[in-house]
Amino acid sequence: MTETHRTKQAEDRWNWLWEWANPVKFMSLSGKILPWVMGLCALTLLPGLIWGFFFTPEAVNFGSSVKIIYVHVPTAMLAINIWVMMLVASLIWLVRRHHVSALAAKAAALIGLTMTVAALFTGAIWGEPMWGTYWAWDPRLTSFLILFLFYLGYMALWGAIDDPDTAADLTSVLCLVGSVFALLSRYAVNFWNQGLHQGASLSLDKQENVSDVYWQPLVLAIVGFSLLFVTLLLLRTRTEVRRRRTHALETRERMADA
């Protein structure tokens, strides 16, 4: 005996929260907050970058190349965190079946890919003066390359499937399994080669690694980039919601014609 109800989402005490995953509500809310997020982004990102690029001293033996850090570090951090966000969104889709969640994961993927590419490129440009080579098979760099491949595969799978719900299910499963293997790759790569790359210097105990002059604009730039991500995510998710809606209407139209 199988019984199905049209409203698949269970009712529970978190409903006040899940309600916002209703596409209609999401669209109205995101439409309202979007200008504010954009404004905040402009207020942090631009000053952060300008401060970092023009008002910090040149490093003793690195010259002005050190200023790449204001793009490199924020993009690198976001590249990883966006994947984590996609993982969470995929889980929400698999468990609660909120369409907006799956679409947010889809929307985030391209931004994550862009961030990964940006981190790789700035790193490579930086590598030339620092290590004398654009590329080395350093574990940090290598694991970013692998992350790039994961983003690529994830997006290719979204693109290849016509039915949006099937695509959401399959990409979510891929994201889940992929996360495990991405983690494994990280350890494998570390094991495989001990690298050249800097350790994490933003952690509090090692704060003195980078002097305050560099550190303060860097934090501002990181906040700015994060807000940039939120802005882009909202914009793209809104587009995806509209696309999904258009697709539903088109399918109905087609079936009505048939």
């Binding site: 692998i146 690529l152 595969g153 290719a156 099937t166 499963v173 293997f181 790759s185 350890y187 494998a188």
Partner: protein
């Protein structure tokens, strides 16, 4: 379950079943590399374990789209899904059949191909051992990828794109263990890690794969 295994093996053996094609591809890759890299035996011996691993991986990969695609096209997958057979079991069996038809022959023939690449005596053994432990993981991970792309027309290259990043940890540990072994170094750690990946993949991926298949059948 055993009936499914026997059927898959029979199908592979019959005309056009694809048995041996993976092996042939492995051979060709191993042959092409010296043409590309040049005949110096020292360099070849140095890169041999890595190339053999990469070759085995590609050969595995190219035979993956057969795992579910043919059964999907002729409707068998629908009928299996409604049969009294847990889909997880069916997936595991199909991965096993893929390994018996592709991974195992590759492993058994690897020492011969190693000779083609001027790899000396202990290296043979290690390539063999690492492939023996690692190729089951390749088949299982590959079956998961095949399950994701089963409904797609011409899923072949997409399948490769999805599966290759998942293969990276196995490849790293496997090739590392083989290279170290060939150089006479200690290699228990990568061997153990690779065995761990194999065990984990066999234990967990059938569930993910069968979920993907059910989604694709809808």
């Amino acid at each position: 379950m055993i009936a499914l295994l026997i059927r898959d093996l029979k199908l592979a053996m019959r005309a056009g079943g694809g048995f041996g094609l993976g092996l042939a591809f492995f051979l060709i890759v191993t042959v092409l590399v010296p043409f590309g890299v040049g005949p110096e035996s020292q360099i070849l011996a140095r890169i041999a374990p890595g190339i053999l691993w990469v070759g085995a991986l590609l050969a595995c990969l190219l035979s993956l789209d057969r795992v579910f695609q043919l059964d999907h096209e002729d409707g068998t997958l629908d009928l299996l899904a409604t049969a009294p057979l847990p889909m997880e079991g069916a997936v595991a069996i199909k991965a096993l059949a893929h390994w018996l038809v592709t991974g195992l022959p590759l492993t058994l023939s690897a020492p011969i191909f190693a000779t083609l690449l001027n790899l000396q005596s202990p290296g043979h053994l290690w390539v063999f051992v690492t492939l023996l432990i690692g190729t089951p993981a390749l088949s299982m991970i590959g079956a998961f990828g095949a399950a994701l792309t089963v409904g797609l027309k011409r899923g072949g290259l997409l399948l490769s794109l999805l599966v290759l990043p998942l293969y990276i940890p196995t490849l790293i540990f496997g090739a590392e263990a083989a290279t170290r072994g060939a150089a006479g170094l200690e290699n228990a750690t990568p061997l153990a890690l690779m065995a761990g990946i194999t065990a984990g993949a066999i234990a967990l991926l059938p569930f993910a794969a069968s979920a993907a298949i059910r989604v694709n059948l809808r």
